[in-house]
Symmetry: C2
Subunit: 393 residues, 2 copies
Amino acid sequence: MNAPLPLATAIASPTEWLLDEKTRFLNHGSFGARLRRVALAQRAYQDRFEAQPLAFLDREGPALLRAARLKLGSFLGMNQADFGFTSNATDSVATVLRSLRFEPGDEVLTTDHVYNGVRQAVRHILAGSGATLREVPLAVPATTAGVEATLAEALSPRSRLVLVSHVTSPTGLRLPVERIAANCAARGVDVLVDGAHAPGMLDLDIAALGVPFYAANLHKWLGAPMGAGLLWVHPERQPEIHPHVVSHNVGLGLATEFEWQGSRDISPWLTAADAVAIAGELAGPGGWPAIRSHNRALATWVQRMLCQCWEVEALSPLDGSMLGSMAALRLPARARERFPSPAAFLEALRGELPVEVPCFEWNGEWLIRPCCNVYNRAEQYQELGQAVLETLA
Amino acid sequence: MNAPLPLATAIASPTEWLLDEKTRFLNHGSFGARLRRVALAQRAYQDRFEAQPLAFLDREGPALLRAARLKLGSFLGMNQADFGFTSNATDSVATVLRSLRFEPGDEVLTTDHVYNGVRQAVRHILAGSGATLREVPLAVPATTAGVEATLAEALSPRSRLVLVSHVTSPTGLRLPVERIAANCAARGVDVLVDGAHAPGMLDLDIAALGVPFYAANLHKWLGAPMGAGLLWVHPERQPEIHPHVVSHNVGLGLATEFEWQGSRDISPWLTAADAVAIAGELAGPGGWPAIRSHNRALATWVQRMLCQCWEVEALSPLDGSMLGSMAALRLPARARERFPSPAAFLEALRGELPVEVPCFEWNGEWLIRPCCNVYNRAEQYQELGQAVLETLA
């Protein structure tokens, strides 16, 4: 299996991106990265605001936000009126949990692959309600059918809501959200998808997934400026859902209520729509499908190559059927014999190689999760493979 | 009474600000305005983040945020550990209301000078709790003693929390927060101050006010980028208060919990501290006290001049004892005979004069609220006075 070639279009050029080229940046998954043109687009909005604050925010703002929602809705499969902007996916998840009313005994189900920030948010919001958060273990190596079956079996009469990642954060696995949604719908259980990593990584048609609630980030794989999230809500469920900060626009409908959560910089939301167009254009005729398939092919190759290099078992099928643009891998077992913590290991690794890659403990295992985007090159992962071996030598 | 002279230092030069000079900008109160150097400071943070996202946000972020809190705390009278950053004051107010537990029958008191966004937020959060929001009318023309007495008399055994603006939004009045705090403390009633307009406008010593909760904006009179608010909480009350979006930092203390509300752009918070230093420096040896006293003197002059020009009664004493940097005025009564709405009047006014000034209905009266900052000139308010008369002629 050969590494995929870089895209032959401008978007693959590191000079189009703002990242410091001295670092091997294999961590697009944490906070994304911005194209230069995206940053310029944001600054143009900020400049307009600063020159005429009221004209921009009060008088032009609603039309600008609607236009941005139309473009993003078209890209991600949403009606513009059916989603609101938030700061990030954790914000969106917390919004749903705070808006729904739970009864004592209700159960919110999630998996042990849940993002820790979301885990903390949900636990905090449920505390005192009498409802509980139960984490269903999803075994690794994972299979799509196994995930579906495990979650279906975990449902109980007390289950009120299933909170499931579209792409899991610690393990980078693409979960079968449509199938989970169908099983939950058959049992009358709500589903809230944490799509923190999904926009830009997966070919999304959010309204077609069959779930009532979808939370997402636009500042990761879609390439928007930081602080751009969204919450999509099925039209029938919109009357239940309100932002944390309800303000002037209360009662004007979901999208409009979320437009005004007190005074804030709306440029990340507006620029998100531009980021779709800019990246699509810089990707040439292949557009976003070319970006997504490049990244997935690279992640699939990285998973196999590093499993061989480190002699570790993969967390999911080697055909990449559960991967998007990230491949989480077990570190060789001797890592935890040699280092007191993943952070200590990472520090030593960064002494070998100027690299940015997430590394953490998950379910008693030490994982590393290289991310794959168009500015990355296969050699960077080969360097990572060798540097890890040298760090552990 | 003569108009105060502009400050003779760089900060008074419109070229130091990003505002379009073609418009008479008399609306600093809505979203503030930025100095060029403040915008550059923010962009420097954003550039550092984009070059090294993990280094900046994960590794340097906590120390940068702490340093910003130290500087802001020193300027506003807060220990750095006793406040958290938010998006805006409405966000901060909503945070307190969501964190406290109300019982059926509890009463939250505010005044009929409350900011409408805050009114909507509080009503929404209290809905379903059995607690109610009661708005105490504060008569105009207002006096400091009258406000204090009215609020003291309004307290009842059901009163749980008094939500009071430090500077009222529709009417621009500085309320006697220390006295209100003392009266409420004697009755065992909590006070939440909405200081949306206070930082940069008033000489603040927040921890000395004697209240448990203080919400504020940094992007208005302090000059921070949009999206910078704070919530100060008395140390004894901090265990009760958590951000809407609790995440990784849960349980690490108020300031640290608020540092991480999911991934977002922290540059408005960091730049707020720089804005204090930049404006202080550009104001010359007089520093911030010179800015504040200029603005208040100008607002006091504007109130008197426009009351004479329009032959209307002032909303507060003509000595400016209840003013900060804004003067809200009644429009001549014929405004509502000639125009169907304040918005229609404002549109006609803007046909006469390129001006940005808030104008709205409040308690059945049409008010206009010119704001006074160092980049403004006395002539702009004289032009406003004449343009209003011409619009109504």
